[in-house]
Symmetry: C2
């Protein structure tokens, strides 16, 4: 049963039942450049009462330290340890879940945040930055199978080109042992008040040519939750995923066996969750994250 | 009922029943750099007996004049009028079937062959060659909706980049009136004895981000057959598609309501067509195209 948190008692009871809060950021903490009302107060309240806070994002272009700068610039208190982006999740997965062989390399398609996180886990990365030059028909044959590549990892890459697609495809096509990972599958990339093709779009040439799907790390997929739970040794019953989208954030929490809270300050609207035909329902919902603070402070 | 052409009588009867032959090239006329046995003799025989010959290819990087050079280099007699590639088919479709407005432009993703064919039809093309420079996060916002773009056409483009994907997506996403066309959907691109990602792969980011499918011109889709039939005023009952692949060439012929002949010198093997569970069956099949000549010449 889904509960709307709208009274002081409901807010306090909810807060008492949870030890760890996983926050989606855009649409939950802020909208564009504006931090939403009561968000800073809610986060302070959680810290004061000893709750653990984690920020969970599908942005694979930024490392944790890069994402921390963004939070700080929004005047949201955070530490690097509290940030779990899909670049870090991917690196954590490769190192700790896959136990990646030290004599193998990863071929990656992505931005420097992904490279930074992989290298911080002592994983040897090739591709990022090196392969930005286009290729032509005459030199295409120089792209050959390479058994030293143990995994191909695809993330958002604004410097994508055919050289990179042909390499990623070739390493996977000729070596069934090569692990195929995507940082996330968001089909669009929201920026500047509009959208452009997202990670899920730009990685699709490799999937289409191969006819084989990757392990997907970002929300709503389970590997990312597995990494979060593994790293922080969380009690799933006392952990809540807080988000603004049913089909990513809330589904992510459900897939991971966590409690879920939907806030109505972003994408998903109240009529959607009340719709009988909506299969994805949060455990709790509230008008805004700030309500947890405002309601709990009332007499 | 499927017939194998293996006697002189069968070969002659088949030849008598057809006026126009549509030929797939690779695997039918040649294999790699070698023209298959009896192919030149078969084509000469068809010309001597007044048959019409058309070469139908999914290669969208070459214009008809460029493809003619390839046929000539293989010592296969042909004229530009006999060549029907997916670049030309696309241009023909835009001009003659869509009746493209003269005040609108096409944004195209492709090679110079596509540009050449579109311009030969007096269609204004932008994108090809101009957008080869990568884009960065800071200038991404300069890509904006543009209502002067009446169609987005995606073909094989070895100079693909995020600038092109973002433009193609933006023009289509913000303008439901904008026509979306792909030259073909082959998922892999065979070259140098191996394969790399094909047109169907590299166009998939736009499809994935949009959640909308293009009109597809190449084999096995119907628009290409419609163009061929429209241009040459063919009698479908006396036209035969000759190919080496069930799921492209033969399906193409079936989709277009033509007769079909599979030759066993390429991809599809005899056991596949004899398989009870195979839904795509040609009307006729033969060990090789050259058999039409060798069998028909026997006493």
């Amino acid at each position: 049963m889904m509960h709307k948190i709208s009274t002081t008692e409901e807010a306090r009871e909810f807060l008492d039942s949870i030890d760890t809060f996983l926050f989606d950021c855009d649409g939950v903490l802020w909208e564009g450049d504006r931090v939403l009302d009561g968000v800073r107060e809610t986060l302070s309240l959680l810290r004061q009462t000893g709750k653990r806070i984690l920020f969970v994002t599908n942005n694979s272009t930024k490392s944790r330290s890069m994402y921390l700068k963004k939070l700080v610039s929004m005047k949201i208190e955070a530490t690097e340890e509290e940030i779990f982006g899909s670049a870090y999740a991917t690196a954590y997965y490769v190192k700790n879940i896959l136990d990646f062989p030290t004599d193998k390399k990863v071929y990656a398609f992505g931005d420097k945040g992904l490279k930074e996180e992989l290298e911080a886990q002592n994983v040897t990365v090739c591709g990022i930055g090196e392969d930005n030059e286009p290729i032509d028909f005459d030199t295409l044959h120089t792209i050959k199978p390479d058994d030293s590549i143990g995994a191909v990892i695809l993330g958002f890459d604004i410097n994508l080109n055919y050289r990179k697609y042909a390499k990623a495809f070739t390493y996977l096509y000729h070596n069934p042992e090569c692990t195929f990972i995507a940082t996330n599958e968001d089909s669009t990339y929201p920026i500047h008040g509009t959208v452009y093709p997202g990670t899920g779009a730009i990685i699709s040439p490799v999937i289409t040519a191969l006819g084989r799907r990757p392990i997907v790390m970002g929300k709503p997929e389970k590997p990312m939750i597995d990494c979060v739970v593994d790293k922080y040794h969380l009690d799933k019953n006392r952990t809540c995923m807080v988000g603004d989208r049913l089909n990513t954030d809330i589904l992510f929490g459900i897939n991971g066996g966590l409690k879920t809270l939907l806030v109505l300050t972003g994408i998903s609207k109240e009529h959607e969750i009340l719709d009988q035909d909506q299969p994805i329902k949060p455990d709790f919902y509230a008008n805004a994250l700030g309500d947890l603070y405002f309601l709990s402070q009332q007499q």
